[in-house]
Subunit: 203 residues, 2 copies
């Protein structure tokens, strides 16, 4: 097994639960199954481990964006699929997105880690905003612009539609990060939200 990789896994788990400052190299080592000094054969410092996580997750993110087209400038392609789907399918899409964000192991832990560390420096603040605010809004704005052009929805501001569609998803996601036991409740609200949103904007 790749120890260097396992160190990042364990560290990400601990950082996402307690935050960087409350995790000690001894805890990470214990999770990996080695002694603390052995960590230093793989990474030169605790900060080095943290930065390796950022780099690793940045790579993962880039791959997912280009593969799943969750965000990015590729909403042109999706709109054709989107425009033809029913309200039921829109719900299915929203819930699928929600599930992925909430249950993908790395996605979830990384988001919690950034939530804790977002105020500690400007780079982490920007990273959080880009990944969880700017990019999703940009993508969904493009999507709604297409849907409007195709006459499926009312000719309102697409960026506000994206905000009004996405903000509840974001709120429910951060709610479930904090209180995982409320996932069922969140899913009910999410479905109701998308159905009502769909009904209000339908042309």
């Amino acid at each position: 097994m790749d120890t260097k990789k396992k160190i990042l896994d364990v560290a990400l788990t601990l950082f996402s639960e307690k935050g960087y400052g409350n995790v000690h190299v001894g805890h990470i080592a214990e999770g990996v199954g080695i002694k603390a000094p052995s960590l230093y054969k793989h990474y030169k410092s605790k900060l080095d481990i943290f930065e390796a996580i950022l780099k690793e997750m940045s790579n993962r993110y880039d791959k997912e964006v280009s593969y799943l087209s969750i965000t990015g400038s590729d909403s042109e392609l999706d709109a054709n699929i989107f425009a033809k789907i029913s309200e039921d399918e829109l719900v299915k899409m929203g819930i699928g997105l929600f599930h992925f964000f909430l249950h993908d192991e790395y996605e979830c832990k990384f988001r919690k880690m950034l939530t804790i560390e977002q105020f500690s420096n400007k780079e982490l603040a920007e990273l959080f905003s880009n990944q969880y605010i700017n990019e999703p809004l940009k993508y969904q704005t493009g999507l709604f612009q297409r849907i409007i052009l195709q006459g499926q929805m009312k000719n309102e501001n697409a960026d506000m539609m994206a905000l009004q569609f996405y903000a509840p998803i974001y709120l429910l996601l951060t709610l479930c990060d904090r209180e995982p036991q409320r996932e069922e409740e969140a899913l009910r609200l999410l479905e109701k939200h998308i159905r009502q949103f769909s009904r209000m904007y339908k042309e």
Copy 2:
């Protein structure tokens, strides 16, 4: 000047910037203008300071809720005011609320502190959810129910209207906590959101 109170002020400021684990009693003492051991004449431990902040902010919150009626079960009263106001006045109300949450010194620091510490135990998670999710949604649901009854808005689910009205405010608030330089942008989006929301649901 009240040293005991000043300790809480300084500690809250530091906790909201760096998180509990990254703040040391020496830092707090320095901010207050005394030496670390002197802190222990006022509080018996670092954790004791943290808990005193929670208690203090809980008192502040109770007073504000009952005084400003921002949340609570008093939406019956406000609906009469609300129902008669124009879209412009609805915008003014939303922006006023946003400004208060964002610029009230204690409100802002406490929210950041809870954001950082929300995953460290269940009580803090519940506190965050109650104060920034459950209570605002409950209040606004009551408000929209009244507005619907008075025939001012479409007869849709009031709880979804509350979610769709409040979630963008919440998203923009957390955005400004993270990147204060984006406040102007957030205010523009907020106004656009409320105007579009108002237009979509207007009967």
